[in-house]
């Protein structure tokens, strides 16, 4: 495999792993914080003292940071899966040649916008990097947190260009289907008949 393709594959995988992990981690974090708050309020000897020593006041802030990173990189992944939808009623009625021009225009506009944001974000991170600004609870340097903007937008810009190039070459667009149902591929059978009312007892896979 040529090295460029390999790098592309690795980048794809990295992107997917990053956003899925952030999603899981943020959920667990808030769940643990809620459970902690209630357990610490219960008078259980030993456990209560131990729990009161742990402070999870930073959980909300960390959750927000994780989701912002997830959002920025997830938006780039979304370009690849075609989930960013627009108003396409008009465009789809155009003649194929014109439609192609319009879609390319839309994709390049996306690349332009994300490119500008990546640049602006980069400048902002650079400026904040020269200050001592830290986040309020975790006291992390803010420039690292804000790095999500130039990195995420930059990647998104790259994805728009990638999709535009592929569309120009093969005429294929990534398409997200909101109706796809994974795991529900065997429809349940509820035809009239008393014994079919509980098809779950044996039917659950």
């Amino acid at each position: 495999m040529n090295p460029l393709n390999l790098a592309g594959r690795v980048l794809d995988r990295l992107e997917e792993t990053l956003i899925a992990t952030l999603m899981a981690a943020a959920t667990l974090l808030i769940f643990v914080a809620v459970v902690h708050r209630y357990l610490a309020g219960m008078p259980i000897p030993g456990l209560q003292d131990w729990l009161l020593h742990i402070h999870l006041s930073w959980a909300q802030e960390l959750c927000i940071f994780m989701f912002v990173w997830m959002a920025k990189f997830g938006a780039a992944y979304g370009v690849r899966t075609g989930i960013h939808v627009g108003v396409d009623v008009l465009v789809n009625r155009l003649a194929p040649a014109r439609r192609k021009v319009m879609i390319l225009f839309g994709l390049l506009a996306g690349a332009l916008f994300t490119g500008i944001i990546a640049t602006l974000g980069g400048i902002m991170v650079w400026k904040i990097g020269h200050t001592l600004q830290v986040s309020s609870d975790l006291e992390w340097p803010m420039w690292i947190v804000y790095l999500a903007i130039p990195l995420g937008s930059g990647l998104m810009c790259f994805r728009f260009l990638q999709v535009a190039r592929r569309f120009n070459r093969d005429g294929e667009l990534p398409h997200h289907d909101p109706g796809q149902v994974e795991g529900l591929d065997e429809p349940m059978d509820i035809a009239p008949g008393a014994d079919n009312i509980h098809p779950l007892a044996g039917g659950a896979k």
Partner: protein
């Protein structure tokens, strides 16, 4: 003047078919680059700080919970329970679809997800049982819209965020209208089935009903957990969403065992994909409303409407029409994020209750989702029912009329929405 330029540009960009988020962002950038002194640096900053709120983080959690519930067998058991309760009436499976949609809506925050969860099981089942194809598709498409009215609801979170209202109060305000709409849709279904002489299921015995209830109990408990938790102040809506995501994961993987641990990364990725798309629209919409506020557009519009002598009744009618038209070309999250900051200040000046206004917008979105040419529910349902959009449009007609009537009811009878949150002392 600047209002005309901003909206003209936005409309032109959107009609090219580019993603709505990009159209919003480019409008703001163009305007800032050419016409104002607002430091352009503020834009990048806003893209981060825009979603730096814990309230917004309820959205990814609710999406994750919804995906676990859809794929995890909770929907199946709710359908079995609903069928055992109402299946013996005329149009039994259709009524069961309405009830199952209402139940699933109470654990999920999205309409298309509700259509998928209930429709992919019940539409084929109804066809097999001998119902006309249009009947099954129509009932599920419209009942699925309950997903955003019955709490939890992603659209309500978006409205609350963009207008600084209470998510909890909005959720509670959605309960009664949601139940009323479910009843009305059920009534329409019953009437159509009774006229058409559609098949019924045999009456289930109480023992069977008890068993169906016991099996679906894990899903039903989630309703109590989320609504009860928010109401008693046990947790904030965002925490409730995170807890329900973990709960749904445990139920799907360890209790019902309908999902393998191996499937979990895929569900996480799909949820992250959907959440990131919404969060990206949110950031750009916040950027857009920041631009409008700095240009004083909502205030100017409010003044203009007041000077023209538009009263609350005419204004609400205008809102209904505007949102229904917008619903023809855009999906609900974008509409809420773009329209709420514009319409909200006007509504406040006219003395309309913020929570009531939120419910009006949500019901409008519901109708918009079942309404051609771009109803999200229509698309999803047409995929499941293997029915063209045009035919499906005819199929949803009876229920759509009911929903339009209901929209009028909700718009001009505030107490329907506000009585419950007031009684619970969640609002004044």
């Amino acid at each position: 003047m600047s209002a005309a330029i901003i909206f003209g540009l936005l409309l032109a960009l959107m009609l090219t078919g580019m993603p709505i988020s990009i159209a919003l962002g480019l409008t703001v950038l163009t305007f800032l680059f050419t016409m104002t002194e607002v430091p352009i640096q503020a834009v990048a900053m806003k893209l981060f700080t825009g979603i730096e709120s814990f309230e917004i983080m309820a959205i990814p959690f609710f999406i994750l919970a919804g995906n676990f519930l859809t794929h995890g067998g909770v929907a199946r058991r709710m359908i079995a329970f609903a069928t055992s309760m109402v299946g013996h009436w005329p149009g039994g499976l259709g009524l069961a679809a309405v009830v199952a949609c209402a139940l699933f809506a109470a654990v999920s925050g999205s309409s298309p997800a509700t259509v998928v969860a209930i429709g992919s099981i019940l539409i084929p089942a109804m066809l097999k049982a001998g119902y006309p194809p249009r009947f099954g598709a129509g009932v599920v498409t419209t009942s699925g819209a309950l997903g955003i009215l019955i709490p939890p609801s992603i659209v309500m979170v978006l409205y609350a965020v963009s207008t600084n209202s209470s998510v909890g109060a909005l959720f509670m305000a959605g309960v009664v209208p949601g139940l009323v709409l479910a009843f009305l849709l059920g009534l329409t279904t019953w009437w159509r089935a009774w006229r058409g002489g559609f098949p019924r299921n045999p009456r289930a015995t109480w023992a069977e009903r008890g068993r169906a209830l016991r099996e679906s109990l894990w899903g039903l408990l989630l309703i109590v957990l989320v609504l009860g938790g928010i109401y008693t102040g046990l947790f904030t809506p965002t925490e409730a969403a995170a807890v329900s995501a973990v709960y749904a994961f445990i139920v799907a993987v360890f209790v019902y065992k309908d999902m393998d641990l191996r499937d979990v990364p895929r569900v996480l990725l799909a949820s992250a994909n959907m959440s990131a798309m919404l969060l990206y629209i949110i950031t750009n919409a916040i950027l857009f409303s920041f631009l409008m506020t700095s240009e004083h557009i909502p205030q100017t519009m409010a003044q203009w409407l007041l000077d023209a002598g538009v009263g609350p009744i005419a204004f609400l009618l205008l809102v209904n029409v505007l949102l229904l038209v917008a619903g023809n070309v855009m999906e609900p999250s974008s509409i809420t994020l773009i329209m709420a900051p514009i319409l909200f200040p006007v509504a406040m000046k006219l003395g309309i209750d913020p929570i009531h206004f939120g419910i009006i917008m949500v019901v409008n979105m519901e109708v918009g989702m079942c309404h051609p040419p771009v109803g999200l529910n229509l698309y999803v349902a047409s995929g499941i029912a293997k029915m063209g959009i045009t035919e499906l449009t005819i199929a949803v007609w009876p229920w759509l009329l009911t929903m339009l009537g209901f929209l009028g009811l909700v718009t001009y009878w505030p107490a329907l929405s506000l009585a419950l949150p007031r009684a619970l002392a969640m609002m004044r």
